[in-house]
Amino acid sequence: MSAKAEIEIIERYCKGCSICVEFCPTKVLEMDAFVVKVANADACIACNQCELRCPDFAIKVHKL
């Protein structure tokens, strides 16, 4: 399966709340030392849930 979007993480803004990791339906994201990282880019279905629920403006979902 190929990625439907490219996820940009602005690490400087991320406070490590992990809301995005929990509510990603295809488990694309994971936490790495209190900052989110893209662990499984190919699984992204471009649902935008992580961007919508990121309280810190740290995630941008660029649809491909």
Partner: protein, 271 residues
């Protein structure tokens, strides 16, 4: 391209001051999308707030903003709207600011049905000042000033607003991110007082005192307690125990205050 929030935010203001996982950021994103959907121009829009965590929101927004005295956001916003009725006025504040310290201003702004949109971020607590209980802290829950459990019954902000005379009342939660902008946009388009209550999470001063192990637990709770109005009509009182209704709770058309006041001015001129 991803949605460009930063064109609505003052340069260099991010990252914001809110704690990790605080839903105020999610609500702010919703407000930005709503302003965008309604096509409000920056120069013709004023965002007004009082004091508190939620009231820091306008400081980030690249609009006309007014950060005022504790609880007095609705009063200042009324002043802005009366002097410039053509201006779009948005008020943002928390539950403590809006319903305790500013309770009087809140109900009278509702009663007048003045054309503004009040987004009230209800996180069940006074966050900024140290976690004191607010009128929205659930009965039995703990705050820094109710360490043995809060004995008070709560204010239902939406019911309060309906009772006081607001003509558009809606409720959603920080979990239901897409509903936030839809309801705020509907509130902005409504002619009259629109109250949008956003149930929110405060992990730092409320969550950790009330056995929420993480931000994610608080978000899951918001997801669980929310019942859309349409679904609630098919549920029994037992099933609705502990739930809150979300969506548009009340809407009616009534004369708007600045228009009524313009007529008073005309009558005075003719006298």
């Amino acid at each position: 391209m991803a949605y460009d929030y930063e064109k609505h935010i003052r340069a260099g203001k991010l990252p914001h001051i809110w704690c990790p996982g605080c839903g105020h950021g999610i609500a702010m994103k919703g407000l930005i999308r709503a302003l965008d959907t309604c096509g409000l121009e920056k120069n013709n829009t004023a965002i007004v707030s009082g004091i508190g965590c939620a009231s820091r929101l306008p400081g980030y927004m690249d609009y006309n903003t007014l950060h005022t005295a504790h609880g007095r956001a609705a009063a200042f916003a009324t002043g802005v709207k009366m002097s410039k009725p053509e201006m779009n006025v948005i008020v943002v504040g928390g539950d403590g600011d809006g319903t305790a310290i500013g309770g009087n201003h809140f109900i009278h702004a509702c009663r007048r049905n003045i054309d503004m949109t009040y987004v009230i971020l209800n996180n069940y607590i006074y966050g900024m000042t140290g976690g004191q209980f607010s009128p929205c802290t659930p009965t039995g829950h703990k705050a820094s000033t109710t360490v043995y459990g809060n004995p008070d019954p709560i204010f239902d902000i939406s019911k309060l607003a309906i009772g006081a005379g607001a003509t558009f009342v809606a409720r959603t939660t920080a979990f239901h991110a897409t509903q936030i902008d839809k309801l705020i946009a509907e509130g902005i388009k409504h002619k009259g007082m629109a109250i949008i209550e956003v149930l929110d999470d405060c992990p730092t001063t409320y969550g950790r005192r009330n056995k929420f192990r993480s931000v994610v637990d608080m978000m899951k709770r918001l997801k669980e307690i929310a019942v859309p109005v349409a679904a609630a009509s098919k549920m029994t009182a037992e099933q609705l125990e502990g739930k809150v209704l979300t969506g548009v709770l009340y809407k009616e058309d009534k004369p708007e205050y600045t228009e009524q006041y313009a007529q008073v001015i005309e009558r005075a001129k003719g006298a």
